[in-house]
């Protein structure tokens, strides 16, 4: 079957745009067999994300639109709304004795204590995963963490709304450019960015080279103020807003290798400078035996710059009806974090009954140079330190299954469920005071997403 020239150009142009995922590239649900009006596409999804053990709950909605405007130009837009809340680890370690902390808005270690003699509540209990609907967050509170438990701040909550849009157009017959901008607003974070990319086809459109740039400016306004890095937890001298800027450059190649196999490799480099510290995270200090004195916590501190190199290699292989996707990503950065990600999807076609798509992802991460589970009080204070479990060495495994079904000619419905587990280990030789404690409990999360796509 010979594709008409316009459709062929579309296919590879879309493949080139696919280098830049997200807002720039939109898939079309039905490539036209004839020239003529290109369909507009609206793509929506709703995600429910839930971690076990009273950790994070997140709900997110995305609505995307892609509209061709004739002459191979198109615009695209996306709206994302997201609400998250629940328990977030604060970086302090579990201890053999009980510990107390305060939520970020507190201005002393002893906020007016909520004294109650009793509680009124709905009866019944058990069942479900401890779903939290993210309403009525707690502020200015002290909370007690039982011995052996990982300190978690249950007052964490945030809402985000993000809008992005872009425009793409051809340059001559062999090249294309696209440009876009995005805005994202959260309770403690505001981000603006612009991006642009140029792509060019070679070799009868079997090869596409692309280059792009993304510039982002962020403003961080931590809830309760910005603590002085490495200051003691009880100091409560907090400053105002902070900024961070990022520049990303990306170079990529997409190659149709055989009739069945398309491959893409890209290299990207990101430089970020500004406030990179997590204002809510602290680090436990212990004495030589590993016992912590009450209240010996420091606010964490991360370097002001971070440079990251990423290499990404993606492949899709078409069987007669099924599709296999396999990718590998390697990142390395100036914080000493090296990561490897292996990912695979297999789309099993059921003909008129839709398709199943199992998914597996394996992720490995090394710890940041300045990551420490804890500090010895008597040792010299390092310039940078963080106990954020996300900067530790760990592995992550994801398994998921998606089911999709076409709705008539113009639509598709899909649903997917995934489970994501993080596993790691605590320090190799903890001092006696920390032995017997689970210093890296890991994490398990479930995702459930439903989506609808329509073409017009």
């Amino acid at each position: 079957m010979q594709l008409k020239p316009r459709a062929r150009r579309q296919q590879l142009a879309l493949a080139a745009l696919a280098l830049f995922g997200g807002s720039a590239a939109q898939a079309q649900s039905d490539l036209p067999a004839t020239e003529g009006n290109q369909p507009a596409v609206i793509d929506t999804g709703f995600l429910w994300y839930q971690e076990s053990n009273n950790r994070i709950t997140d709900a997110e909605v995305i609505v995307s639109a892609h509209q061709p405007l004739g002459g191979d130009t198109a615009w695209n837009g996306r709206l994302t709304i997201d609400a998250v809340c629940g328990g977030s680890p604060i970086g302090a370690l579990p201890s053999k004795s009980s510990q107390s902390f305060v939520t970020p808005t507190a201005t002393s270690l002893n906020p007016p204590v909520v004294v109650t003699q009793t509680t009124t509540s709905a009866s019944g209990g058990g069942g479900g995963l401890g779903v939290n609907l993210c309403t009525n967050p707690v502020q200015n509170q002290k909370y007690i963490v039982a011995p052996g438990q990982l300190p978690i701040d249950q007052s964490f909550h945030d809402q985000r709304i993000a809008l992005s849009g872009g425009y793409e157009a051809p340059i001559g017959t062999q090249s294309k450019f696209s440009a876009g901008a995005a805005l994202s607003h959260e309770l403690d974070f505001f981000s603006t960015s612009i991006n642009g990319l140029l792509s060019r086809d070679f070799n009868n459109r079997n090869t596409t080279l692309a280059a792009g740039l993304n510039l982002e400016a962020d403003k961080i306004s931590p809830v309760g103020g910005t603590p002085v890095p490495l200051s003691p937890y009880g100091a409560f001298e907090k400053g105002g807003n902070r900024n961070k800027n990022l520049q990303d450059a990306l170079l990529g190649v997409t190659q149709v290798v055989t009739r069945r196999w398309i491959t893409q490799a890209n290299v990207s480099y990101e430089h970020s400078s500004g406030y990179q510290t997590d204002p809510y995270k602290i680090v436990t200090q212990v004495d030589a035996l590993g016992n912590d004195a009450a209240g010996m916590y420091l606010y964490e501190s991360r370097p002001q710059t971070r440079n990251r190199l990423a290499l990404f290699w993606d492949n899709k292989y078409a069987f007669d009806n099924d599709v296999l996707q396999a990718s590998y990503r390697r990142t390395q950065d100036s914080w000493g974090v090296h990561t490897d990600t292996f990912e695979m999807h297999y789309r099993l076609s059921l003909g008129d009954y839709g398709y199943f798509e199992p998914h597996a992802r394996e992720y490995r991460q090394s710890a940041a140079d300045f990551f420490r589970f804890f500090l010895f009080q008597t040792a010299a204070q390092p310039a940078y330190v963080s106990a954020d479990p996300r900067l530790a060495a760990f592995t992550g495994q994801t398994f998921g299954l998606k089911y999709g079904l076409a709705l008539g000619k113009d639509g598709e419905f899909d649903v997917r469920a995934e489970r994501y587990t993080q596993r790691g280990a605590g320090p190799a030789n903890p001092p006696p005071g920390l032995q017997g404690l689970d210093l890296y409990p890991g994490m398990q999360a479930y995702l459930l997403q439903v989506g609808l796509r329509f073409t017009f």
């Binding site: 009793t118 009866s123 069942g127 609907l133 309403t135 007690i144 439903v450």
Partner: protein, 307 residues
């Protein structure tokens, strides 16, 4: 609570613990939920002396009205297979009260709706009942089909009554009365059965501080209410549910349809003079789903809704 072994009343004990503000709490299990009676006293033995009358009332009501007990009055009515059963004055008064609630709520509050638990199992899974199963059970619901004469109740065959929705709050009021009757000048007490509570009067130095449980069910309350005298009851809808295709089906069932009420608040807390009023108002408000707040506003009730 289904599945957990609840010890019989004879094997249960009362423990005393201290609470802030010079209060002792007598804690025990009754009617399938954790109960406590708080007494304004520095002495555990004194507190126990006062609380015992309240504990005895709670266990008496559990024996008499629990549908789980074969020897209860409720079980006798439900096993009668359409025959008239003689009931005592207390049971009759509770049924009269249930009839008022049925009218006040336009049919939403219905003590015969317990049969729906045969189809709905709120275990957090995605197993919804079939429409037929729900319809078959709905055919067995209808408070107006109970036949009542003075001193008797007839529960038609296939139907059953369940006083679980009002027994706890009724028990709070009765326990308080029993304790107050012991002496001319009792100390202040607060009776809390499973989250529904009533205080006889304020503490010597301050009002009672009652926390309203937060959605996350952690130790930190969403709100703290100051209570002098009167009752607070909370009804809620997020701890037992089914989740299917991203939609959450809460456990409060509308007896008119047999399906969960939609858009109910996470919890409704109502203040009233007696616990039974507060309890039925909060339950009926929750049954109004999205219109919970407007229902309570119309009636001029003091309430707090968490959504």
């Amino acid at each position: 609570m289904a599945g957990a072994r609840i010890p019989p009343i004879e094997e249960r004990s009362i423990s005393i613990e201290e609470r802030p503000g010079g209060v002792q709490a007598a804690c025990f299990l009754a009617m399938g939920c954790p109960c406590e009676i708080l007494v304004a006293s520095k002495d555990a033995a004194v507190a126990l002396h006062w609380a015992q009358a309240g504990v005895a009332e709670a266990w008496r009501i559990e024996r008499k009205f629990s549908r789980y007990r074969a020897d209860s009055a409720v079980a006798a009515c439900n096993a009668s297979a359409g025959q008239a059963v003689v009931i005592d004055a207390e049971t009759e008064r509770l049924l009269d009260y249930a009839a008022h609630c049925h009218e006040l709520s336009g049919g939403l509050f219905d003590i015969t709706s317990g049969v729906l638990r045969g189809a709905w199992h709120f275990d957090g899974s995605d197993r919804l009942p079939s429409a037929t199963a729900v319809e078959q059970l709905r055919a067995r619901i209808g408070f107006s089909r109970l036949v009542r004469t003075r001193g008797t109740l007839t529960v038609p065959a296939g139907m059953e009554i369940d006083l679980g929705g009002i027994a706890k709050e009724y028990a709070v009021d009765r326990a308080l009365e029993a304790m107050a009757a012991l002496d001319q000048t009792p100390p202040a007490f607060l009776v809390n059965f499973g989250g529904d509570l009533r205080a006889s009067g304020p503490l010597p130095a301050a009002p009672w501080k009652v926390g309203v449980e937060a959605p996350a069910r952690g130790p930190v309350p969403a709100l703290v209410l100051e209570l002098g005298r009167g009752a607070l009851a909370t009804s809620g809808d997020t701890h037992r549910y089914l989740l299917r295709e991203g939609k959450r089906y809460g456990h409060i069932l509308d007896p008119r349809t047999g399906w969960p009420v939609e858009n109910a608040p996470h919890s409704v807390t109502v203040a009233a003079a007696t616990c039974i009023e507060a309890g039925t108002l909060s339950t009926i408000a929750l049954l109004h789903g999205a219109a919970a707040e407007s229902f309570l506003e119309e009636l001029g009730v003091t309430y707090w809704c968490l959504r």
